[in-house]
Assembly symmetry: C3
Amino acid sequence: MKKFNDLKDFADEEIHALLELANRLDVQPEAQVLRGKVLSLLFLSPSLRTLASFQAAMIRLGGGSFVISPDMSIHGLETRPGIVMDGAAAEHIREAVPVIASYGDAIGIRAFAERRNLEDDIADTEFSSLIELIDTPYINMESAMNHPCQNLADWKTLDDLGIPANGGKFVLSWAYHPKALPLAVPTSTLYTAARRGMDVTVLRPEGFELPEPLMQKARQAAEAAGGTVNETDDRVAAMQDAHVIYAKSWSSTRHYGDKLADQELRSNFVSWCVDEPWFDNARKDCRFMHCLPVRRGVVVSEPILDGPRSVVIHEARNRMLVQMAVLHQMLGSGS
Amino acid sequence: MKKFNDLKDFADEEIHALLELANRLDVQPEAQVLRGKVLSLLFLSPSLRTLASFQAAMIRLGGGSFVISPDMSIHGLETRPGIVMDGAAAEHIREAVPVIASYGDAIGIRAFAERRNLEDDIADTEFSSLIELIDTPYINMESAMNHPCQNLADWKTLDDLGIPANGGKFVLSWAYHPKALPLAVPTSTLYTAARRGMDVTVLRPEGFELPEPLMQKARQAAEAAGGTVNETDDRVAAMQDAHVIYAKSWSSTRHYGDKLADQELRSNFVSWCVDEPWFDNARKDCRFMHCLPVRRGVVVSEPILDGPRSVVIHEARNRMLVQMAVLHQMLGSGS
Amino acid sequence: MKKFNDLKDFADEEIHALLELANRLDVQPEAQVLRGKVLSLLFLSPSLRTLASFQAAMIRLGGGSFVISPDMSIHGLETRPGIVMDGAAAEHIREAVPVIASYGDAIGIRAFAERRNLEDDIADTEFSSLIELIDTPYINMESAMNHPCQNLADWKTLDDLGIPANGGKFVLSWAYHPKALPLAVPTSTLYTAARRGMDVTVLRPEGFELPEPLMQKARQAAEAAGGTVNETDDRVAAMQDAHVIYAKSWSSTRHYGDKLADQELRSNFVSWCVDEPWFDNARKDCRFMHCLPVRRGVVVSEPILDGPRSVVIHEARNRMLVQMAVLHQMLGSGS
């Protein structure tokens, strides 16, 4: 495996093999398989789960990793192309990325969306420009529109819970949050649930529609896999017989890159905090998923998050397991 | 071993076994025993020795660790219970702790005392609330009233120096410091020296008495082990024939949680800086111990700290060795 | 090997052995040789390549490392000798360095020049004062006047490129930079190229002469190795038939420690940005070297840095390989 960037790049059997490997490594550790191997981890955006779970994954497989992030005592990093560097930044990402990559057998990179121009972000322009600088295997640790490690962990979580692929009802719901957050998780989660063959409903207020090209990508995946994709702002209709609600806040696509207009629009939807009444017409054992971090009492009520519906810690732990599988296939002896 | 939280939880033979193991690992490395094992390290308070020595300990045993601390580029951590998270913090400790724990085979947690309410801190309320969130083995890396890794390292240091258990004279002395520091080291050191069977004198100005429940805990331990516990503000009496003086500054318990009153009281005791005249009637080879970090010329004079009485570097290195023993018993194949 | 501080401390055959070992480890990994071994890394100055490459090097050899730097959530570090520590800093470097060293089998230390007094910096006073505190093997990760890891990596790079030792023409050129940078890289690079037996020209504006004792050290090395050392401010003369230009900015030695005067002087030399016309009379395949980080459009033009002359990424990767060789000899079973 040379890259792990988008589940779309993998055939069904490849995804299933990764999930099986993740399950196997959970019970049959292979503490020698990556001995002497190095994973470079470059965080241009904040992280907790990704930071911790990748380090843990490499140790469990016998290798190791190092972390570079701009909050460290490194020379400030410049990201703008073609600039005369007479300001504060002493190093350009054009050198930093290939140098960091050159110390590892693979590199993981996180770079959130710039959220200035929706077309650029849909095209994953910034992440692609970083990847062009290297020729080592790489892992997308969240870019403008992809978060494949989260997606694979969520797929495994759905499998672990026994939620059916075809016929499983998956609600991806927008939730209130004081900030305009990136689209990577909702768009790639939408694709993932569709790709798994589920009946997916995107529940969101008007103005928060997911970008049409990504809705289209998901519809095609659903069609091929025997699922469906719908969207609505009608909570009751969406939650009918749902197996799982996956909550996430995201930016208004109507006002993309316009913080003030986004703020004004979202302020109307403070009530979009997932709570027990949402589940009135869902399946009795309907689960609550979230990629974390999550704001208590804002995105979801405390009773839901701390209650039996919530599988968020299980989801987070699955991050480590699926990443072990990816690293095993990318860097293991058979790679 | 499922937890390493308080020496009180261990029988004498268990403590001796840990100390023997620490000695053995110093000369007979076991670089494979923890291969593939992961220690999660969560620092909610600053650290240098603990941060470095736990990482080193895991590497020496063939495993590894990862570190999370709030100064990293992570999403701000909220610690207050029941709060609506519409402020700066994006993640609650209630998710962060179990997630971080889920990536490790054990977790080390550091969370200093809040120093608002003495009863809460004596009950180690905050640390206990974090531990309730997890079910992995854990290590207390310093809480409001415990610092068992330091305690075990100090015990080993006393053994290394040949200072007698019964009959050994141990002075735990308050020292001046510009800030009101936590009680974890003095109270747990008091217990440790008493538990070792020594004759312990707590030397402190009035207003800086250690909390009575912890004096009581130490007295009981001393009684069982053939030692004694006394307290005084009379330096000459305290230092008579002392084998060791263990210096440490701590908060005024009379004004606990009241910074200004504490400041006013402590300002009278600037002269409590351990210096050569303190040793006039001590044993000739009386040693100086301190857990570090220590303020030169404030807590202790430079000649003492740099001179032959000081064993602070030896103490600090013992941190790594006893932690290797703890990790070996907690995560090793026989655990 | 007990220390890696200055190439001057090593015989030619020792340097060649390190370079051969670096080449061998690149193609024949030894993922077990340092198992259970710990490298302590103390950064008192910023780093990216050194931080990443040492961590990667230890992992590749089967060991590990930990990092301490003052930007971490540690207790503020005091470096001034003999001070009463009643200010912000809670820990003195006199304890921190030996403690950190005591957790490792070797320690790497970075401490840039203070740049107050040239004689002190030439004598590497600060670094020496840190080294006096420890008795573990150590690696200089850049001090006031030494950067031996960079030097050995550059030597390997020159070898890799087939640039002749005797007869090879090496131009060490000052370049513009908005800040007054340390002398460690230029002075130790000068020595390295001279020691390799090359014909070295130091190209710099007046006022930026390298310190005479270090010019003298380089001249002696050149003489013994069959090379030469010259200096000039005449770019055309310097670049004549050059095999390689090694660009680096540095402080004015005329105004050492005087930021304003340095700033005023250097502001006359903004045109010292390496660009294609500089190569007009060089060898056609003349290479561009730089230790990184480098400011694009300030120290060097983008077309040179991104073009075929530039070997800066190759140089940076060699850092890891030569450090693996040093660590292998310092900590390996035959050490």
